[in-house]
């Protein structure tokens, strides 16, 4: 079976071999067939999709089509979509039909992209396995007994299972890259501040960043260029024009220096993951790259720093869920204080409550300096590590996660073990750098392995270029689950 990529569907639409309505209908049927097994979607927006497809077909007929017009995708259910249920994987927002579009949603809509629905995620994006969703765990299409990763696990599983050619995701500590790796697809988190956070339900504002997930680096580039750009509605949005990564895809890799941080290849890395990464590096050398050993000495500290900063910001962001303006309100309460505490107790799941409690504590009087300021100082040391390493190389390569996707339930009751599995992804968020995951092989259990590429600020074009060249020389990205 040929691989449905945005690029291939774009060519079929341009050649009038298929209409946008046919593409939407065909993919909605794929979702209907696969979703009961995989649970990748929380909402299927059939009517909205067909209406958007008809608009796209009219634009194509009138000769007004852009490069993305009529292409079907799905949005992670953390992006607000006007008139469509937006749950963030939580009972708290189980009835929330957003009155407005996130900037990312609005930009893609304006580009003619057809959204088929909203994908499942860990509740409020807090998790690495997708098991904390109020709407049930997502299953990994490669092996239904395993997790798809998280928090953008629904998006990753939907793309891997062929339900949609691409989907949006968000990455606060690895939530695009790790599920992309576990599901054998490609996903990129761009430089912090390049993709607007407006309408993207906030978890940890200084780390959250949206991005595309698709089968190929080329498709990610197509979407990323339509998602980036300054947005006055996001106070952390950088005053830069949209990225132009597509133009860089074909650049040769001759002379590319790839840094290999020794901390990413040490104790804790599974042998089968290491073997797949080593083989990918050998392939990149064949394509003209050279490798150089580098060091990121504070890697270990990224986990404690992240698990102070992210919960602190989460406890502040999630204070807006008070049962007054939107979301869940408890049925019975005796006064306003009890209305807040009962609505929040009923609306949030266990992991979200834990992170709110951790965050509340570290921000409370007398502890702020010892925890939050200390973590921000470590954050600076971690960013300096990357700065230093990137003077010796153009990109940094390593694994996305220490193992392939764990079995469902393996980490569900052990938050600390789950946090430790984020070791190779979270430092990138703390530093605010761009990074991607591209499929590069399989582990001993037949589950995919992801190669992580980390670049300097605003080097997403170079990262996608390296992954694109790698994908032209290999076929890992075109493997599909049986």
């Amino acid at each position: 079976m040929s691989l449905d990529t945005l690029k291939s569907l774009q060519q079929k639409l341009a050649a009038k071999q298929v209409s946008a309505r046919e593409l939407a209908t065909e993919h909605l049927a794929k979702i209907d067939a696969a979703n009961p097994r995989i649970n990748a979607f929380i909402t299927i927006d059939r009517d909205g999709a067909l209406a958007a497809a008809d608009i796209a077909d009219r634009a194509i007929a009138a000769g007004n089509a852009g490069p993305l017009t009529g292409l079907p995708i799905a949005h992670k259910d953390i992006f607000c979509t006007e008139g469509v249920l937006t749950t963030c994987g939580s009972k708290m927002l189980g009835n929330f039909v957003s009155p407005y579009d996130a900037t990312v949603v609005a930009k893609l809509k304006a580009a003619g992209v057809v959204s088929l629905g909203k994908t499942n995620l860990d509740e409020f994006a807090m998790g690495s396995t997708n098991e904390s969703s109020h709407f049930g765990a997502v299953k990994n299409p490669w092996n239904l007994a395993h997790v798809p990763g998280g928090s953008s696990g629904g998006s990753a599983a939907a793309v891997a299972a062929g339900m949609v050619p691409a989907a949006t995701g968000t990455d606060t500590g690895g939530s695009i890259r790790q599920p992309a790796g576990f599901c054998g697809i490609t996903g990129i988190k761009s430089t912090y501040g390049t993709v607007s956070r407006y309408g993207m339900i906030a978890y940890a504002s200084s780390l959250d960043q949206g991005g595309p997930m698709a089968r190929t680096a080329e498709d990610c580039a197509l979407l990323l260029d339509a998602m980036t750009g300054f947005d006055e509605r996001d106070s952390t949005s950088l005053q830069r024009t949209a990225s132009t990564t597509v133009a860089e895809l074909d650049r040769p890799l001759d002379g590319l220096r790839i840094g290999l941080p020794k901390e990413y290849f040490g104790e804790g890395l599974a042998d089968d993951v290491r073997a797949a990464i080593d083989a990918a590096l050998a392939e990149l050398r064949k394509l003209g790259a050279t490798t150089v050993d580098v060091s990121l000495p504070n890697t270990r500290l990224a986990i404690p720093a992240y698990y102070v900063i992210a919960p602190a910001e989460a406890s502040s962001n999630l204070s807006r869920f008070d049962g007054v303006r939107y979301g869940h309100r408890a049925a019975a309460y005796k006064d306003l204080a009890e209305m807040y505490s009962k609505s929040r107790a009923e609306g949030f799941g266990a992991e979200v409550k834990r992170r709110i409690l951790v965050g509340t504590y570290v921000l409370s009087h007398g502890y702020y300096d010892a925890y939050y300021i200390k973590a921000q100082q470590l954050r600076r040391l971690i960013a300096e590590d990357f700065k230093q390493a990137l003077t010796q190389c153009d990109v940094i390569a390593g694994p996305v996660a220490p193992t392939t996707a764990p079995a469902l339930g393996a980490l569900a009751d052990d938050p600390v073990q789950m946090y430790l599995s984020d070791i190779y992804t979270i430092a990138v968020n703390l530093a605010g750098l761009p990074a991607l995951s591209a499929p590069c092989g399989f582990g001993a259990n037949g589950l995919p392995v992801g190669l992580q590429l980390i670049g300097n600020y605003f080097a997403e074009g170079r990262l996608l270029n390296v992954a694109h060249r790698f994908q032209q020389a290999t076929d890992w990205h075109s493997r599909q689950p049986g």
Partner: protein
């Protein structure tokens, strides 16, 4: 560091989260595990290191003090648990 059950309830009150006594016990053990992990930070000497809050060290943008949004009160209140006559309804606060 080790949080007592009273600490857990105090933090929960600050966070406006009702926590039952049985939940508090389960939460206590997990929070202490998380704080053991976080405690690794304290071993590092960060004297003189400037805290980092935004990767690009940008300054807060200012804009002209002018109306930019249209009035969409009805659409926003349509998703409220309880609203009436343009007002959000909550339990009585002042006796």
């Amino acid at each position: 560091m080790s949080l007592s059950l009273d600490d857990v309830q105090r933090i929960a009150r600050l966070a406006r989260l009702e926590v039952s006594p049985s939940e508090a016990e389960a939460t206590q053990a997990k929070l202490n595990g998380i704080f053991d992990l976080i405690a690794q930070m304290q071993a590092v000497d960060t004297t003189g290191v400037a805290p980092m809050s935004h990767p690009q060290d940008v300054v807060q943008r200012l804009r002209t003090d002018a109306v930019t949004e249209s009035d969409r009160r009805e659409a926003f209140q349509a998703v409220a648990p309880e609203a009436e006559a343009g007002l959000y309804l909550v339990p009585k606060v002042i006796e």
